[in-house]
């Protein structure tokens, strides 16, 4: 588990899309809000995520078999009956993967939500109030940052009788908020002295309103990307814990499938179908979430947005690439682009167009 290296730490809110005064055409501006979806990465990521969420909801109802049900087809390769083959007990792997989507998505989202709420509360409070509160809260989040997360989770889960998904989500959420809290604190610190926050204060807004209505909306992108990051982390944590057999509440998740497959040395038995699909399911979910996160980064910091076409055709037919430091020259003919001819006009007879001059 390397530390999350999402670039949120470098995001400069307020300098984002909203603050780019040029290039925004009044009237079309409303559509800005949906600009996010225009991002190919975001759209693709959301599409996949949507599929996963759909399966999380309907998965258990559409499984072709009861994922627990044993049958006589032991360790069968994928076939029309069993799309992902079967386990050593003759259980249907496809059904298990489908059934296992719900806990993964549930734990991921819930843990992400818990960690996000905590990090928002702690990070923003620390950043906005400053002083002693800040010192205390920063110290707290640093302690949580320093304590290794997975071992901590292992310990805490073993305190509990049986770990339901809800509890696991809680534990992951409660132990993984600190990184985001740090990022948010830094962001809040930089926002706190913004003129519009000061202006709201000067207008007479109450502190909670400033935090809730002026500060928070400007942190949405950072919070969202922190949320996504935590979801990824939570999913991987859940799967890791399940894989090493620490967490295994009733029911399936992809980690449990991998746990069983590994316990039965599926690959050594040649039963790749038992081991591979769950891993790929995780990878695609992770990729989808990462894509959304990239998109958020780009949304916040328009500089990261690729400028669409980067290859240009010159007048002479060659192609040039847009790059910094050497502006492409499409044509260097001295022909004027607009055909403006001096036309003789008699100024004496001209009547100024009457117009209302707005102030």
């Amino acid at each position: 588990m390397t530390i999350p290296t999402s670039s949120t730490a470098q995001v400069i809110p307020g300098k984002g899309a909203m603050a780019a005064p040029e290039g925004v055409k009044p009237g079309k501006a409303k559509r800005q809000r949906f600009l996010f979806l225009k991002n190919k990465k975001a759209a693709f990521g959301l599409l996949i995520l949507g599929l996963y969420v759909l399966f999380a909801i309907i998965g258990p109802w559409i499984t072709p078999y009861d994922p627990d049900a044993r049958s006589n087809d032991l360790i069968q390769p994928p076939s029309a009956d069993h799309w992902f083959g079967t386990t050593h007990l003759g259980q249907d792997v496809f059904s298990q993967v489908l059934d296992g989507t719900r806990p993964v998505v549930f734990v991921g989202i819930l843990a992400g939500a818990i960690a996000t709420v905590l990090s928002v509360i702690i990070g923003i409070t620390a950043g906005y109030l400053g002083g002693k509160t800040d010192d205390t809260l920063s110290a707290l989040s640093n302690v949580f940052l320093v304590i290794p997360a997975i071992p901590l989770m292992i310990i805490i889960t073993s305190i509990l009788d049986s770990a339901s998904n809800l509890l696991i989500a809680l534990i992951i959420g409660l132990t993984s908020w600190s990184w985001n809290a740090r990022v948010l604190r830094a962001q809040t610190l930089s926002l706190r002295r913004r003129d519009y926050i000061e202006a709201a204060r000067a207008t007479g807004e109450k502190t909670w309103r400033i935090v809730g209505f002026e500060l928070l909306p400007n942190l949405t992108a950072v919070i969202a990307s922190g949320f996504i990051g935590t979801v990824i982390f939570a999913v991987l944590s859940l799967i890791t814990l399940a894989f090493i057999g620490i967490v295994s509440a009733a029911g399936w998740n992809w980690g449990t499938i991998l746990f069983w497959a590994q316990g039965q040395q599926a690959l050594a038995q040649g039963a790749w179908w038992w081991f591979v699909p769950a891993g790929l399911a995780i990878a695609f979910l992770g990729t989808a979430l990462s894509l959304i996160n990239f998109a958020i980064d780009e949304f916040v910091s328009p500089r990261l947005r690729s400028a669409g076409k980067t290859k240009l055709k010159t007048a002479s037919g060659g192609t040039v690439r847009m790059r910094i430091g050497f502006t492409p020259v499409l044509s260097n003919s001295a022909e004027p682009h607009t055909r403006a001819r001096p036309i003789p006009i008699n100024t004496d007879g001209a009547t100024p167009v009457a117009r209302e001059v707005a102030k």
Binding site: M18, D195, R201, A202, T203
Partner: protein, 374 residues
Amino acid sequence: MTQDAKAPSNRPGPSVPSGGPGIGNGTAEVVLEAIGLTKHFPVRRGLRQLFSKERTAVHAVDDVHITLRRGRVVALVGESGSGKSTVARLLAQLYPRTAGDIQLHGKTITVKGGSAFRAYAARVQMIFQDPFASLNPVHTIRYHLTRALKIHHNAGKTDEDLENALRELLTRVSLTPPERYLDKFPHELSGGQRQRVAIARALGADPEALLADEPVSMLDVSIRLGVLNLLRDLKERLNLAILYITHDIASARYFADDTLVMYAGRMVEGGDSETVTQTPAHPYTRLLIDSAPDPDRLAADADPLEEDRGNGEPPSLIRPPSGCRFHPRCPMAMPRCETDLPIRLEIGDKPGHWAACWLYDEATVAAQQPGVAA
């Protein structure tokens, strides 16, 4: 200490003109007054200083007197970092002050937050320098204005009242027709329009005094004028007291009734705008005015002030120069300037024109030749 420390006792005698009674308007009602206003920002102390008694602080504002009167504009000019914004924020009670007094209609007021602060904010409002930064990018114009109205209970009772109040506000700042602007986001407006919204927001509180901190310095030349004219218009129509902060002394001349000049946290000169800009008394004011671009001057003209001392750098505010803070750069500096804090001295060319400079103390000038500091 200088005699200024006792300032409250001899206010508002003509010897201590603060905002300075302008011609004919001297009797206008005082709305907001700052007396001996001082703000030191503590610098975080290091370990070494932990044990010493000495406190380090940025002396951002020292002993400032300002009087804002109904229907008049007072300009506060000075170079960057001279403490102008700090004065405005102190007056808006956004910072607690280190010393001095802020009086609203003659009553000392110190508020930190809560309803007392809101009551104060209802009467004194501030406009920020940067219209691009002072509106929250995530909220519509409607939100900004509605909040301003609601906080100060000017929103009326019904939705209709609110709607009318909003239209009225926008109309007042000449953003017409109001419907076109109400539901826009700040980024959809030009700089001038944004600054108008910021002004409308301030007006939403229905204040008596408006503190405008460089309201046009971030705006394009061709738009500046519109905003300034609007402010002047409001001053006349609503009888507002306005503090106009700027570093552009020419615009102070154009727009303000009175002008105060600040240097390194202190007031160095004051008087009615025309006098201060046309016959500047303090060497710093002169430097400022001589430095302002002047199309009528020939480019090659050697400037006598060009070879000023101290590399033209403003002084450190953590350890400000002793005596007159301008003396290290002052071509006319006298030995006394290095030691004694100059008091406000009446210039005498126009009533209310004063400067804090020993050059106007005849005894000192006689004893020490200006320009030959030890």
